[in-house]
């Protein structure tokens, strides 16, 4: 199938305006005749539900959490970008667009990125009017900081809880629509399959996590805003329940999965301390504004950090990248940490970290200033490690954090299944091969508040007058039976190991071979190991308890099963992409200095994979990328 991105013609800066004018509209009185399912109540889902309901659509919102406010978006710390140029430091829509395309290592769709930069300014206005308590200057105007290597200050924030505040804003707008009766909220309800009829999305099958009841829901359109798949690594900064099931089930029903190997490994997380570790905690990237990253020059260093003299410290980022220093983009910072740790310079009891040192900043600005900036992060660090970062350097190491890959969508955010949309981290969208800090919140809210509510009309308008497919249609019956079979099967396996065990083992394979550095033999090994482990899983997993009450092992069983299939596809995608770009680093493709080397001639495309059944590898489809506005260059942060 030829992938049609439906990018409008015309000059870049006018495409979105033109498109909004050209697409089909549903008139206000007719909107109430349409029913839309939104799965997910994170930033993307809550903002979409609220806005669609305000426009008049009937929305059913689903989340597996016990409250919409618990979506993983709540955990975002650092901030949200917007091209407001309030600091008068030369920012503009064009600069944010340019930085995002470059930061994504020229693997994103220019037109989408430009639209994102355009609507970024509206997001801040929207959030402020909802009462999001952004940080302010003394004069009462909004404060900004520079974040994640940006050379302008365009990041808005609410202490270290930006995601929480933006999500509460969107959640509250959605609850207002629940109050109005325009949104029907289904909490603790997990989507376990997508239902299609004649190739079009017509509904979903869900399981009530409290009673185990399987229910069918039909609508004119389905939106997946179900987040990313960073937990395929087992250890990640994501919340424990984040998973790929909704997106993966849609993939199995015909939605192409794009660039699955583009994953972001965040440079500043607390290193694992033991086998029992269940997740890794992110230390906000803003710490790199003041902290200096180093390791001892000697591999056999035994002294404490403070007693290692300056000359024996290797400030590797400052030395290698004098222009950006500790503020190089995430992929570069992470890869360099891996290089020094692999070379034996790691610090901490397991020698699995690097130092992030605030001693100079404290000397320069005083302890109070540093406490003012990072107090809550320092407290969090101390709570977890038992060490005081005011007196000893933090230890950090990269961890799985964000996934740029996801369901392929066109300019309207529609997947390859008509009527099925994907928003937020669940789509592959705007970040190319590497996401810039503070851009995920922006994208989730852009999709939900400002893009999807308009573009969805294009596929709805022709359906005016038709009812959704009834839930007693055979397509629903069939999908229900499939879901029930799978649950019954899990409970019947009666093997010897928990889903947790298998998830951890899968994570090790993925981290080892599809992590920060990848090569052919490792990827081939990963494919065969994952397949073998998946087969073992279906023979040997042990799920206790029943289907008729809360059963987190049973929930997990399905999620881990889908992670296996996704992990395999990640390896295939990484193997196929014989170039390095952004977070995807193929050891075979690097410059003499060890930097990522792209191959624009052969890989300047999106890889979108089509499901062919469990025993046949997916088929790759290409969306060629054209760079009209931002000239392709080798990224350099030296």
């Amino acid at each position: 199938m030829l992938l049609n991105s439906k990018v409008p013609t015309g000059p870049m800066a006018e495409k979105w305006e033109k498109h909004k004018f050209d697409i089909k509209l549903v008139n206000p009185a007719n909107k109430r005749k349409f029913k839309i399912i939104v799965v997910g109540t994170g930033l993307a889902g809550a903002s979409a539900s609220a806005t669609l309901a305000e426009l008049g659509y009937n929305v059913s919102a689903f989340t597996f959490h016990d409250s919409p406010r618990r979506a993983h978006s709540i955990a975002a710390q650092g901030g949200i970008n917007a091209a407001k140029n309030y600091q008068n430091d030369g920012d503009s829509v064009h600069r944010l667009f340019y930085d995002t395309v470059k930061g994504g290592d020229y693997r994103s769709r220019e037109a989408n990125v430009h639209r994102l930069a355009e609507v970024s300014v509206n997001i801040i206005d929207q959030a402020a009017s909802q009462g999001v308590p952004f940080a302010r200057e003394y004069g009462g105007l909004l404060a900004n900081r520079s974040f994640g290597g940006a050379q302008v200050s365009r990041t808005f924030y609410a202490r270290g809880q930006t995601g929480q505040q933006l999500l509460l804003g969107a959640y509250q707008q959605m609850m207002r629509q629940v109050h109005e009766g325009k949104v029907t909220l289904h909490t603790q309800t997990e989507m376990l399959d997508l239902v299609t009829k004649d190739g079009e999305a017509c509904g979903i099958i869900c399981r009530d996590l409290i009673t185990g009841e399987i229910t069918s829901h039909s609508a004119h359109a389905v939106v997946l805003a179900t987040g990313g798949y960073g937990n395929v690594f087992y250890l990640s900064t994501n919340a424990m329940a984040c998973n790929t099931t909704a997106a993966w089930r849609a993939h199995r029903k015909g939605a192409y999965f794009a660039n699955p190997s583009y994953t972001q490994i965040h440079p500043t997380c607390i290193p694992a301390s033991d086998e029992f570790q269940s997740k890794l905690t992110l230390m906000s990237e803003s710490l790199r504004n003041d902290g200096r990253i180093w390791v001892p020059r000697s591999k056999d260093e035994t002294r404490s950090a403070g007693s290692i003299p300056e000359a024996e410290r290797y400030y590797y980022l400052e030395e290698k990248y004098p222009a950006f220093g500790n503020l190089v983009p995430r992929d570069v910072a992470s890869r360099n940490a891996k290089t020094v740790v692999d070379a034996g310079h790691g610090v901490g009891p397991l020698k699995n970290g690097v130092y992030l040192d605030f001693a100079d900043a404290i000397k320069r600005d005083g302890r109070d200033a540093i406490e003012g900036r990072y107090g809550n992060l320092f407290d969090m660090y101390e709570r977890i490690t038992g060490e005081d970062p005011y007196s000893v350097p933090m230890r950090i190491y990269p961890a799985s954090h964000y996934t740029m890959g996801g369901l392929w969508v066109d300019y309207n955010l529609m997947t390859t299944i008509p009527g099925l949309y994907a928003a937020g981290e669940a789509n592959f969208s705007d970040h190319g091969a590497n996401r810039l800090g503070a851009s995920a919140l922006m994208q989730g809210l852009a999709d939900g508040y400002f893009v999807l509510p308009y573009t969805i009309g294009d596929s709805l308008a022709p359906k005016l007058g038709s009812d959704p497919v009834p839930t007693d249609d055979p397509v629903f019956k069939e999908a229900t039976a499939d879901v029930e079979d799978r649950l019954t099967r899990f409970l019947a396996i009666g093997g010897s190991r928990s889903p947790e065990y298998f998830h951890r083992e899968l994570g090790k394979i993925v981290w080892e071979n599809i992590g920060m550095a990848r090569n052919r033999s490792g990827l081939e090994k990963a494919i065969s190991e994952i397949t073998a482990l998946r087969e073992e899983y279906w023979q040997d997993v042990r799920i206790l308890g029943n289907n008729e009450s809360l059963n987190q092992s049973l929930e997990k069983a399905g999620r881990v099963a889908d992670f296996f299939e996704l992990g395999e596809l990640m390896a295939r995608d990484a193997l196929d992409r014989n170039e390095s770009c952004g977070g995807h680093f193929r050891e075979e493709s690097q410059t003499d200095e060890g930097e990522a080397l792209r191959d624009d001639e052969n890989y300047s495309h999106v890889s979108a994979w089509e499901w062919n059944g469990i025993d046949t590898p997916q088929t790759k489809h290409k969306e060629e990328l054209a760079f009209e506005e931002v000239p392709l260059t080798q990224r350099s942060y030296k």
Partner: protein, 257 residues
């Protein structure tokens, strides 16, 4: 360097909302003191599964003290003994080898037990639904800097907005009152210029919804002690003032003048 602990756990097991529950004892051995409290429960669950026993259901998700999902009574205290710490952020180095730890679900009439340590906290969402928002339809907002907000006003609003909605305040309260949660949401919105138009309507509707589900506040202050975000009791006073004003002058009906 990491040490290990041997512990006795007394954990509330209850099969479902209508089942009768009881305490069961478990031995948790060789727990690394670097583990978090929830990782300790993970280890216990893994060994239960190994022995073909149904694992303990406990609420959790982000494990970094922000989503508000976790929360159990630990030795009779909501989220345990550490001040300003959610259950997921509590680490085993705060316990001693040989300790007995009693673990129960939140206890409150408004939060019925779903299973084991998991309760239903949906009444908190009902309070927000009743009015915990500023009516700001998408697309209608003026430029954000057109309404300057003094820094200390924004900070004070943020202090209240920091609530994670875990319900520890309710669980800790002898009356199972919902005042700390409700007042935090009210102050977040009522203290901001954008929140003024709906201030009194919001206050009445949220307070009255709260009263449908939760007990009444008799100023014990246990809620604040249990709150992982140390939300201030002052917000309760502010809520009461606004509610009184609203009622006495019947501002809601008089167009909120």
């Amino acid at each position: 360097m990491s040490q290990t602990l041997n512990l006795t756990l007394k954990i509330w097991r209850q099969e479902g909302p209508n089942a009768k529950g009881s305490f069961e004892s478990y031995q948790a051995n060789n727990i690394p003191d670097d583990a978090s409290f929830l990782e300790m429960l993970d280890i216990v669950n893994e060994s239960l599964i190994e022995n073909n026993q149904v694992p303990i259901e406990f609420p959790h998700d982000c494990r970094e003290g922000i989503c508000g999902t976790c929360g159990v009574m630990i030795n009779g205290r909501a989220h345990g003994q550490e001040i300003g710490t959610a259950t997921c952020q509590l680490h085993m180095r705060k316990f001693n080898d040989g300790d007995t730890i009693v673990i129960e679900p939140w206890r409150a009439a408004a939060f019925p037990v779903v299973k084991d340590l998991v309760v239903d906290r949906s009444p908190l969402d009902k309070i927000v639904e009743a009015g915990g928002y500023i009516t700001a339809p998408t697309g209608s907002a003026p430029d954000a800097n057109e309404m300057p907000i003094p820094k200390d006003v924004a900070e004070s609003s943020m202090d209240a907005a920091a609530c994670i909605g875990c319900g520890a305040c309710v669980a800790a309260c002898p009356n199972s009152a919902g005042q700390l949660f409700t007042s935090a949401k009210l102050w977040h919105l009522n203290s901001l210029p954008q929140g003024q138009a709906e201030r009194y309507k919001r206050t009445e509707e949220m307070v009255e919804t709260m009263e449908q589900y939760f007990g009444s506040c008799t100023n014990h202050g246990e809620c604040k002690e249990a709150c992982p975000k140390e939300i201030s009791l002052d917000f309760i006073a502010e809520m009461n003032k606004d509610y009184m004003k609203s009622k006495v002058k019947n501002r809601k009906k008089a167009g909120q003048k």
